[in-house]
Symmetry: C2
Subunit: 329 residues, 2 copies
Amino acid sequence: MPDLRCAGNGILDPVKKHIYIYSPSSAVRDKASFKRGVKRLQTLGYEVEVDADALASHQRFAGDDATRLAAIHRAAASGADVALVSRGGYGLSRILPGINYKAVAKSIGKGTHFVGLSDFTAFQMAVLAKTGAVTWAGPALGCDFGTAAAPDDIMEACFDDLITGQGEGTGWKLPKHAITLIADGASATGAAGQFNIKNAVLWGGNLAMLSSLVGTPYLPVVPGGILFLEDIGEHPYRVERMLTQLLHAGVLAQQKAVIFGQFTGFKAVPHDKGFKLPTVVAWLQSQIKARVLTGLPFGHVATKVLLPVGRQITLAVEGRDAFLLWGHP
Amino acid sequence: MPDLRCAGNGILDPVKKHIYIYSPSSAVRDKASFKRGVKRLQTLGYEVEVDADALASHQRFAGDDATRLAAIHRAAASGADVALVSRGGYGLSRILPGINYKAVAKSIGKGTHFVGLSDFTAFQMAVLAKTGAVTWAGPALGCDFGTAAAPDDIMEACFDDLITGQGEGTGWKLPKHAITLIADGASATGAAGQFNIKNAVLWGGNLAMLSSLVGTPYLPVVPGGILFLEDIGEHPYRVERMLTQLLHAGVLAQQKAVIFGQFTGFKAVPHDKGFKLPTVVAWLQSQIKARVLTGLPFGHVATKVLLPVGRQITLAVEGRDAFLLWGHP
């Protein structure tokens, strides 16, 4: 296994890296977190540029549709090393037809990494579908760098690895129930607990956003891919319903692996009577041939890794150790 | 305008009409409502047959997948005048591939009316997509006939009209803001407040279920249709996101009219800052040429009409009076 860099051994480049903050989704209400986030990035040694409309507000949105589209296009034209969303929320779905995808892909080609999560998944999927360009599933400014307590070490180390070009991959410990799943599936597919899937495109993000794109021109077609998923505030029965849509639409049958990140912020109810998230994961494994893994440290949680959406990677599993490896750019 | 029969002038047939109660979705937890519902239907003069597994329970479901599929197929084989779901909830999505659609369509051809709502929308859409057969959006046993207070008059009258074959259509008063929408759209499409759309297929139901079928083989393709929608517990931003999926998938551009039923049970939050359901309706009207109407008495509310899903109907609007007319079978 290569030396994974998310443990934070990055040495800062003598030239300050440039981060562009913009708001394509919901309006920023927690301005204290926003300010703390900017300050934190500056403390880490980055040059931070804030978009003129980063704090705009129109209804729930960070400005009306034209304002948010213009912010995205300014981020693409910024020449920054990272274009980082201030927050998620809701707002990208309805402006997907107005995005200049060529301009976004061009800026990615020149070295700008688009980073974000949650609602941002809509943008990432659309960019992948329309151009094949790679974006990054990762933190948002306010909730990750602007926390009242110190930001998460691993998240910051992974972010630093991305911005300094030192990231080669990421790894995590599979939960014990995931091992069971692998073992269960393994009778059909090979040795349990040890396998590699090479040269597969990693893609995914927020499940609600992914399922909301099925049947539209903004969901990429990724045969033989590795799909990762996370969500917040969605009861397991809704998670299953969203997975069912991906299943019945034929998306899951095309995948080589499906990796569950963190599903948080939902409430079990007495009506569930044993219907839990692991029930859903086990059901999914019974429906598809793809490897189903769990425990990926990504989602609406503090400890999150950064993941290249749209990039060819290798998934390697050895016992309870799982790795997503993408090597150097 | 014809004499609308939902006001309850039905005279009962001397032969008792036969109602078959079954549970294709969530487990029945409120057994008191279930019993009251059965009794109420008997009091109304119907012969009520209860499926052997109507009260089955497995996790959240009214029995495991095989049990619920068997219940659906028993309902189809029952020869009843009406096959009525005990309740909605969740459970149909994942068993859609296992339904014998030919058998369901055959029973519909022989006179069985399948009635239900909410999760049942998945069944209705799949039946329409696979066979073109007509089902009915309408009440469920527990929450409509089994209420602790007296069941709703209009709902019962409409149900009686269906079962006695006397229903010709339904009508409602458009809310004032809907009139504004019609007037706004009318500059492009003709006289405001008075129009007919003839020979268009009525379809729709629960919006969450509809959007969860986009991209799958279970969403019917209905060019030139009249689409009605309702939902419960979905914030307007989620309603908009679901509509956006239907929009970007090209479903809404095919419709001649989109009719909003009742959207209930969600909580506005301070973050909304003026983003309300009417905001979403106005936004939708700005995106499509179809007529957008509101106020249809259908959804998770007591006063609900019955609507033939998949049937050719006429939509007639005169001032604030709207009618959905389907004539006699």
